[in-house]
Amino acid sequence: MEMLSSIFTYSLLHATLRMSTPVILATMAAVVSRQGGITNIGIEGTMLFGAYFGFVSAYVSGSWIWGLAASVLAGVLASAVIGVVHLKYNTHIFVTGFAVNMLALGLTRFLLQQMFHVSGALLVDRPVTLPILRLSIAEGNPITASLFSSYSLFEPLAPLLVAGVWYGLYRTSAGLRLRSVGLHEPAARTAGIDVRRTKMAAILLSGVFAGMAGAHLSMGYSSMFVENMTNGRGFMALAAANFGGGNPLYACLGCLVFGFSDSVAIRLQSTGFPAQFVLMIPYLVTVVVLTSAMIGHLRRSDAARIARKLADEVRVDGKHADKTW
């Protein structure tokens, strides 16, 4: 009981948002590409590029704005590679995505060795980080301070971004076009939509979000660059997008579940529970969440299928009525 009360405190809310934010940003990348019918498995590597170039250019220039710009640029470039190779040269997106992930791992390690002569992690004396938002009214009380103050730039922005992506996808004509490409390509083509261009735009936008996620990872969530610091978050983002069925709001909910289990996991660790089992929790939660989402989805689509079949039966007018079922 005492253990539980030490885990579930008011500060868990801030911790959950903190742990979720990198995944939420990456999930927006996954959602945008998923709606265009692409499982962008290269988000992991794109994020890593964003994290590296953001951190380094912020350190070199001394300004987080340049760092963020470099992150986004790196994300866009990496996803442009994915887009051109996948769409123009007809490769399997998984192959290209994995190759880009591998490229990101190798190249960041290589650059780390060549530019800073370190391997593993890049720690600097005065790291440049994204601004931390402080609310001076809330600072007086520890509870309100924890709830409302000292958020890194992207932590309050992430929910707004989710809302923005939702609006873009479901309330604008560009979003409608993107979704129609993802839903049924030939129909979209018939309607006069340039499918390849739309997909490319989706991949590039996904690169912007993945770059931002990387920037947050190395300059907001932590203030250093570590080799392979994305550590499966890109894949988790894909899982969250899958869970939400491409809807950013539900996908964000999935991210919060990961963030929550992650922050509970960290607290469990301090109670002497074996660390490895704690570290498994977010991954297991992902699988459970995915499975439960699919079971729910299948129930709904089963109902839809039966309704369709009934409609078909009426339409065939008894011609094939003996073998419709």
Binding site: T39, I41, V81, V85, Y89, N90, T91, H92, F94, V95, T96, F98, A99, V100, M102, L103, L105, G106, L107, R109, F110, Q113, Q114, G232, F235, M236, L238, A239, N242, P274, Q276, F277, L279, M280, Y283, L284, T286, V287, L290, T291, M294, I295, L298
Partner: protein
Amino acid sequence: MNRRINLSYGLNFILSLLLPFMLGAIIIALLGHDPQEAFRELFRGAFVGRLSLGTTLQKWVPVLLTGLAFCITSQVRYFNIGVEGCFYMGALFSAGAGFLITGLPAYLHISLCFLVGIFAGAIWATIPGMLRAWWQVNESCSTIMFNYVAIQFASFMIVNPWSAKSAASQTVPILPSAALSRLMPPSRANSGLFMALTLYIVVFWAIKKTRLGFKLRSTGGNPFFTDYIGFDTRRIVVLATAISGAVGGFAGSIETLGVYGNIIDGFSGWVAFDGMLAALISKNNLWLLPVYSFMIAALKTGALGMERFTGVPKALIDTLIAILIIFLTMENLFRFRFSRREGGTK
């Protein structure tokens, strides 16, 4: 297929192969090293001498087998990223069997260790397989998550119950009766190589020539048709994942019993991803898989030698392998129009 188109295909292949190396040469030159010397050391590090060649062969085994495991599930269109987890499980449990079971003659002990590893891998792969078969849970997500769970579980067993209590986190070494024999003594190549090749041939034959193989290929070709002619596609998918996991577990067992003699935390370094990439660039063509997996193993081994003797970092070779894969999989990167009449076919 037209011969001229094949010529274009071959040229495309060779250029795709050369371009990353040319890029590498330029980067090496920019770093202030001699590219010719670096590539010579790369070659020597991979092939010249018992140690180099043996290490290449030793590294070839897991890449080949994990690639094979990936190909098996690809037959039923199941994108199995989870071979790494099976690899860990196989290695972990055969390490456990290797030191916990005592007083057996070598052939029995080794077979038992392999059996344990194979079962561990098969069971581990079957879980996401069942999730996919019954509830259509996207396997490319769930298998990745299972990898991380397997790695954490292995790490727990290595650090806590089975720990050797030494400075490095590793398990108690296996008994001599469980160890595979070494082939080229200074290197760690072992008789697992022959087992791997035998398994490769058996699986190849099974996929192409047996009833089971037909079921797998038919499910991948058209699951609805396969269902219609009376095969239970769900069971076939689960079976494919089990076989794939068994092969992955077998690869892990070879690593433990033949190479390391115990299991060290984080020993694999995502080797199954190398295998998967070998399978992906060979486009699940089982003839090409050994070639590509050998190429990846040789590059990785050679990179070590190159780093040691010329100072060109190994990370550069990892980068070049990634670029190589991107180029190799691109269709018609370099377009050659040898035949105008056939222009429309591609």
